[in-house]
């Protein structure tokens, strides 16, 4: 059995699945249920200075797929709206009841040293394992000069991190916002400020849907809507890229990463780990299915690791990073052709029409016996993959690498490049 114990920034947990700072971690009641269900850790819903914030009704918008499964949700919720004192007391109690689980507490304050330092010290007194700085909330808090208003300015990220590091002995995780042009600027700033780890992503600025009757963005609050933070399976690709960028950037390489954004299955988690994360955080999947999913998250990851021969998480973390390169480092001479397995083909014609209408006219239809016969015209196929993605039958269309006998040549070296360097 693979060892799932996880360490990020010195914080240990029995498995790498933490609940992200959000409604599931807003009070003892939920967190106790989560720990009983088997979650390795939590990041307590962001604490701020009193008086507590006030939330609106309603708060969530939804993005469904055609089968009404949630692709993503967005929210216009603020940080914890409960008194600080109550949260701190509950955090201490829960940590005492589950000493082996990671108890990280998220916080957010005005851009003033004493505000951050004071809050950090009060939280440290609970006996928690670490702090997470919320520099990402893209709605409500940023209009008050907090959240992404700080996270979008590298100098402020560095400054706040430094303040908190100076105020506490606890490990500090800096949670980054994706609502920036280059994630490396804030990741590097966090590292300069002394961050022990970064976590990402917080939610993506979004209007998730428009209520066409109310003629307002959802969620609709008394006839009006606002932009909100998008999360769930739909944001995973954005998060994966940002995690990989930090992992392969020389200035931030080695900075521990807590991967967040759309983790729904153990496979998603494995992908985050492969791209450099040491653990993951989950919010939307828990809000969609409840805490019980952790059983399959942990069990599935462990089984897959056994199958692949990975005995611990550190053997897995970062495994795919060296294969993430810039476009200019790709082999221009590689070639793959689509191959259709006629035995699996069900005759839907989708591969043909998409290639015909929108790609390279590379799939021919012949009458065939009973069923039509679909064949790829190798000379026309550019290996774009489109047909294999639209085919409804798994493994019916595969992409077969072609032996061109040509060497690995990148665009900067390619003779077809008028500006080639070699």
């Amino acid at each position: 059995m693979a060892d799932l114990t996880c360490t990020i920034a010195g914080i240990r947990s029995p498995n790498p699945f933490w609940l992200a700072s959000a409604p599931p971690t807003d009070k003892a009641y939920n967190v106790l249920r989560a720990f009983r269900a088997g979650w390795g850790g939590v990041v307590w819903k962001t604490l701020g200075e009193d008086p507590p914030v006030v939330n609106v009704s309603s708060r969530y918008g939804a993005h469904h797929d055609t089968e009404r499964r949630l692709y993503g949700i967005n929210n216009i919720e603020l940080i914890s709206d409960r008194p600080l004192e109550v949260n701190l007391r509950e955090i201490a109690e829960v940590k005492k009841a589950f000493p082996d689980r990671a108890m990280v507490v998220s916080l957010m304050a005005r851009i003033e040293e004493e505000a951050w330092a004071g809050l950090a010290r009060r939280i440290e007194a609970t006996g928690c394992d670490g702090l997470e700085l919320n520099l990402g909330c893209p709605h409500g808090m940023c209009e008050r000069g907090m959240g992404s208003a700080i996270g979008q300015v590298p100098e402020m990220v560095e400054q706040v991190t430094r303040w908190v590091k100076a105020a506490t002995r606890l490990p500090v995780i800096v949670k980054l916002t994706p609502n920036i042009t280059n994630i490396l600027w804030s990741a590097e700033a966090a590292k300069r400020g002394g961050a022990d780890a970064v976590s990402l992503i917080n939610t993506v600025n979004s209007i998730v849907a428009v209520d066409l009757d109310a003629m307002a963005p959802t969620p609709v609050v008394d006839g009006k809507g606002s932009h909100g933070g998008y999360c769930g399976p739909a944001v995973k690709p954005i998060a994966l890229n940002m995690v990989a960028e930090i992992a392969r950037n020389p200035a931030t390489a080695g900075l521990p990463i807590s991967g967040i954004g759309g983790v729904t299955t153990w496979r998603d988690a494995a992908e985050f780990l492969a791209l450099g994360a040491s653990g993951v955080q989950v919010c939307t999947a828990a809000m969609t299915y409840g805490f019980k999913i952790v059983e399959d998250l942990a069990g599935g990851l462990s089984n897959w690791m056994d199958d692949k021969g990975y005995r611990s998480l550190d053997q897995l973390t970062g495994r795919a990073v060296r294969n993430v390169v810039n476009w200019n480092d790709l082999n221009m001479n590689f070639s793959a052709k689509a191959v259709i397995d006629p035995a699996l083909c069900i005759d839907c014609g989708r591969c043909h029409v998409v290639c015909e209408d929108t790609s390279h006219q590379a799939i021919r239809i012949d009458p065939g016996e009973g069923r039509r016969l679909f064949t790829v015209i190798d000379a026309e196929c550019v290996g774009c993959n489109l047909c294999s993605h639209v085919c409804p039958v798994p493994d019916c269309i595969t992409m077969r690498p072609e032996d061109t006998g040509l060497p690995y040549v990148t665009w900067p070296q390619d003779p077809r490049n008028p500006l080639r360097t070699a």
Partner: protein
């Protein structure tokens, strides 16, 4: 009549219930939106099936219905009665992938019912009046489909119908459990909603109308008279009380007040193997018959009723007996002789049995009543037409069950009517 505990609440209720909105969404999302789809090629009317199913999936129910009705104005009836298991659904590629086709028929019903329940205006508009007048004989699927398309093209149409109600077999022949809640008449009203069509009931070709007169007074004539006669068994006892033609029986049930359904025998024997036989058998069972036995002279594979219909009969408590032909009907029941196929020829074995019965329903086929068809060429009991649905008589066209265009099905008759209208239109505007 007594209803047993597991009898349906009403013999006039839907045997197959309509899809709920959630079911329709889930089913619509199973469609792959195939290119040059196999299901479309298998539908006699060529409805753009992937397009209408996609519209259901996106919540565009009115668009879905319009896509259907553009090719098949009786999409509502067809969604209820088409033997989809041998037509569109038989071809659906989901059969290959999952051994379960997309439920195209039920989705079609969902869309058309949705439109008919909510639409305030007919979905199609008429072209400017052409001043041409066309006579349509028969207000069945073929006649109404033809009339509708002609009206759409701007012609004025008079439909002559022998009976008191329009709809043809939709009204008089299809089992009530397929056409619950007066659907046939609602659909007729919907079709006529396009305008430009007058229906004259109680006008029978051969009685107060003649082809000669219609040809004189109209620019074109369309015959959609169906098959008005029934085949006889030609065995002793055929005219005894309690022996009835299955089509006439279904008609009696259809036309009865649902509060007072007709009585049926305790032990019913149905003779035949087509869908009429199955409908009559299931109907008798639903009306409270204790034992219903359907007897067919050949095997299950040769039956006109599809495998699905045979199964439906069985799940509704009908006993199927094959390889037996009736030789006589007496006071106690029907005597059958066992048969066998040798070299493809059916022959009696000499062994007989008595199937007890107090009601016998004959379902051995319909025939064309040719009395008023002077001047037309007939072959194999059907009116002969060319590729443009033209008969041997100038200006006279025909379609539906009275010609040999395909199977005798509602959907085929609707297609015939539509194509004949297009042919008449080019004849009138040439």
């Amino acid at each position: 009549m007594t209803l047993t505990a597991d009898s349906p609440a009403s013999p006039y209720g839907d045997l197959i219930p309509p899809l709920t909105k959630v079911q329709a969404m889930a089913e619509a999302n199973r469609c792959l939106y195939c290119y040059d789809a196999a299901c479309v090629r298998a539908c006699p009317t060529g409805i753009d099936i992937p397009a209408f199913i996609r519209s259901i999936a996106t919540g565009n129910l009115r668009g879905a219905a319009t896509t259907i009705l553009a090719e098949n104005i009786m999409g509502g009836t067809c969604g209820r009665v088409c033997p989809t298991e041998t037509l569109c659904e038989q071809a659906c590629v989901r059969n290959t992938a999952e051994e379960r086709p997309v439920a195209i028929g039920r989705l079609q019903r969902h869309a058309t019912d949705g439109l008919m329940a909510t639409a305030t205006a007919h979905p199609f508009t008429r072209a400017p009046a052409t001043g041409r007048r066309v006579a349509v004989v028969g207000a069945g699927p073929a006649g109404l489909s033809c009339a509708h398309r002609l009206a759409m093209l701007g012609h004025a149409v008079t439909v002559f119908e022998a009976r008191a109600k329009s709809g043809g077999l939709n009204e008089y022949g299809l089992a009530p459990y397929k056409m619950a809640d007066g659907f046939a008449q609602r659909e007729v009203a919907f079709i006529l909603g396009i305008g430009g069509i007058t229906v004259e009931h109680g006008r029978r070709l051969g009685a107060d109308l003649s082809l000669e007169m219609l040809r004189r007074e109209y620019d074109a004539v369309f015959l959609g008279i169906g098959l008005g006669g029934s085949n006889r068994l030609n065995i002793p006892g055929e005219d005894r009380p309690g022996v009835e033609d299955a089509v006439a029986f279904i008609e009696r049930v259809r036309q009865a007040d649902p509060a007072a359904p007709p009585a049926v025998g305790r032990r019913v024997v149905v003779i035949g193997g087509g869908n009429t036989a199955v409908d009559a058998a299931i109907q008798a069972k639903r009306l409270g018959a204790e034992e219903v036995t359907l007897v067919y002279r050949r095997g299950r594979a040769q039956m006109g009723a599809t495998a699905w219909e045979q199964e439906l009969a069985q799940t509704n408590g009908v006993v199927l007996k094959t390889f037996a032909m009736p030789t006589g009907i007496g006071p106690d029941g029907v005597t059958f002789e066992h048969t066998a196929l040798s070299d493809g020829r059916l022959a009696g074995t000499g062994l007989t049995f008595l199937q007890p019965a107090d009601m016998v329903l004959k379902a051995v086929g319909q025939t064309l009543r040719a009395d008023a068809l002077d001047g037309l060429t007939l072959a194999g009991g059907k009116i002969v037409v060319d590729g443009g649905f033209r008969t041997a008589l100038p200006k006279v066209f025909a379609g539906g069950d009275c010609i040999a265009s395909g199977e005798d099905l509602t959907v085929q008759s609707v297609q015939d009517g539509k194509l004949a209208a297009l042919s008449i239109h080019s004849f009138l505007t040439a």
